[in-house]
Amino acid sequence: MQTLEPILAEHPFFKGLKPEYLQLITGCASNVRFDTGTYIFREDEEASQFYLIRQGKVALEIFAAQHGPITIETIEAGEVLGWSWIFPPYRWHFSGRVFEPTRAIALDGKCLRAKGEADHDLGYELMKRVAQIMMERLQATRIRLLDMYGDNPGGRL
């Protein structure tokens, strides 16, 4: 049976980690797959896992009373899904709904969090990587906020 370690080592999120950390993380990893329409997680549920998407498409949704579910963003192959596992209150802010059949590596965030608290070097490495993803998402969100394809970029009259 092929271990997940080489796959994790290759992934941009885990690149450059010390081998012992990588082994540790592999111990918390498993292969998962989801069919279209599945909700991987729902708003407000405990966020104990996060996912490296290998194939497929997952939509981050929020349910707005009269409007039904609204897709905020889609997370696709190569991207990381979920950072709520590392920040209190450790609950998902959005629902994750599968748009296309998805294969991913699930990681036990709760376990990693505990290990990061115990070993701050590991904690720092994890936090650096999560911060990088957040930065990229924030940057992309800012660009979308500009509404640059419209007549009114940045809300100017």
């Binding site: 498409k57 609204i70 905020i72 190569g78 509404d147 394809y149």
Partner: protein, 279 residues
């Protein structure tokens, strides 16, 4: 190009054969010369100056197939006096056409390489002629990827054609919207987010980018991050144009005249200008 242009400030008369409503505010005109003459050959990326009788003239990219010159095709967004007046025109109405003007997309330099076409909003219109060209000469190009970002699903331009290219022409088409509406099941996110996972070899790629300046700047950043050399990235710029022949001075961008040194520029040529304010 050996075709001699008539007096460059005199419009040639073209009759509207067909008006197609595209997405809200955007329409496509298909034109034929009024007296059945020749349509001058054009290169991808070039534009014409379109004149509405008594109203004025604006530069619009040619978005048709360069190999199939008739009819002459222009997609326009109605945002100003002239384009709004143009939107009211009907089949058989006559408009004035001057051109073609401007520099072209590097379709020759791209032969034998992978091609990334990144478009935002109405920016897909000047790049459609490239898509036509590549799909008709598919064997000359490597992996070809179109990355298209629109505001919402109702703002996706040429939607049916995108489906057609995806289905029939060995072209990778990725579409994303800034905001999802209704039952959209495609990608939601800014077009630059499509770049990291797009299938092309950055070491052997020509990238052609067109859209709002902000979008183009961020797209270049992502392409560069993936290892595309700056001299292999081409952008299409837009400025106020009155004459389109480099004499009225309005379209200047640094030392460049966008009407004749552009609108297509190699990124390395204008790199220093893009981040400067009010240049």
């Amino acid at each position: 190009m050996t075709f001699t242009l008539p007096e460059p400030m005199l419009p040639q008369l073209y009759r509207i054969q067909h008006v197609r409503r595209e997405i809200p505010d955007t329409f496509t005109l298909e034109l034929e010369p009024k007296d059945g003459g020749e349509i001058p050959p054009f290169g991808t990326g070039q534009f014409n100056m379109l004149y509405v009788f008594g109203v004025g003239e604006i530069p619009i990219s040619i978005s048709g197939d360069p190999a199939k010159r008739r009819p002459l095709v222009h997609t326009t967004r109605a945002v100003g006096t002239v384009s709004m007046a143009m939107r009211e025109l009907k089949t058989d109405d006559v408009i004035g056409v001057r051109g073609p003007f401007g520099s072209q997309w590097p379709i020759k330099q791209a032969e034998g390489k992978d091609v990334v076409i990144a478009a935002g909003g109405i920016g897909l219109a000047p790049l459609r002629s490239v898509m036509y060209h590549i799909s008709s000469q598919r064997e000359k190009y490597g992996k070809t990827v179109l990355l298209y970002g629109a505001r919402t699903p109702t703002d996706i331009l040429y939607r049916r054609e995108l489906e057609n290219w995806r289905a029939h022409f060995d072209l990778e088409i990725y579409v994303t919207v800034d905001r999802a509406t209704g039952s959209w099941r495609g990608s939601v996110g800014v077009v630059t987010q499509l770049i990291p996972r797009a299938p092309f070899d950055p070491k052997n790629t020509i990238a052609m980018v067109c859209g709002p300046e902000v979008m183009m700047r961020f797209t270049v950043v992502e392409l560069e991050k993936r290892g595309v050399a700056l001299e292999n990235i081409y952008l299409s710029m837009e400025r106020n144009m009155k004459c389109a022949i480099g004499m009225c001075g309005h379209c200047q961008y640094g030392p460049n005249f966008v009407c004749k040194d552009g609108p297509v520029f190699q990124y390395s040529q204008i790199q220093g200008l893009l981040s400067k304010w009010e240049v």
